[in-house]
Symmetry: C2
Subunit: 122 residues, 2 copies
DNA sequence: TAACTGTACTGTTCGTTATAGTACGGTTAT
DNA sequence: ATAACCGTACTATAACGAACAGTACAGTTA
């Protein structure tokens, strides 16, 4: 489900970009799946159509979706490359976060415990 | 050294807050150490004194520094509690980052490798 | 043809950040 | 005491990005 949080400091259009890309990479949105129209999604989320348009345009630039004028916006058929890019991006963010945590006094042991907690220990 | 990156999306006063708190918690600034005056630091970094003042005010609110009107701003003598708070904060940020990484397709194995890389394997 | 769709504009509002300038009282060394 | 610092508190303004409002036009489809 596509959602936005008005209280979040992150701009709405960026939330939409990350949200949809995460859904696409996670398989919750299938290749060639028809996304809500600009006006429909704007109505559902009670935000301006221009904001949706801005997010869709950036997602197309990133190759996550493609648009057929007059028809709509669709999830890109080749999710593989997108998933790889997402993985690289998240890896770099994680690296930065780990470095900050280390500088902030978080021990390797605690970080390891956290990692096990997130990934489960089955 | 206190620095500022004008190209960063993060506001200058927030950079200063994080920067100084990191230096304090990391022991690079000693308890009761005299910080640069508002006007002096503003001149050094070529930014407005009001921006420094805003950062100092927030740091005092957080208990990282204390101010003596007419004398200056000083690092708080009890860094212990501040370090603990910093550790908690960084732990939560790391947790969120790990969760995002997992959702983004980063494997536990890769995350573990990254962790070892950051903390060193001696 | 009517009702959708994406797209492209212009213009406006709003909040945050940062700046500029001024002012006042406390501290310190000369 | 007086000058030169210091923190602090204002007001006003400029700049920027985000979001909104409104309009318009061309492609698609039932």
């Amino acid at each position: 489900m596509i959602t936005v949080d008005m209280r979040d400091r992150k701009p709405i259009y960026e939330q939409l970009i990350d949200n949809i890309r995460t859904l696409a990479v996670g398989g919750h949105l299938s290749p060639d799946e028809h996304l809500p129209s600009v006006r429909q999604l704007a109505a559902e989320l009670a935000i301006n159509p221009n904001t949706i348009q801005k997010a869709y345009a950036e997602l197309e630039r990133q190759g996550v979706i493609y648009s057929l004028p007059g028809r709509g916006n669709f999830i890109s058929p080749d999710i593989g490359a997108i998933a790889a890019a997402e993985r690289r991006k998240q890896t770099e963010l994680l690296r930065a976060s780990m470095q900050a945590a280390k500088n902030g006094g978080v021990t390797e042991k605690d970080a390891l415990t956290l990692l096990r907690e997130i990934y489960g220990d089955e």
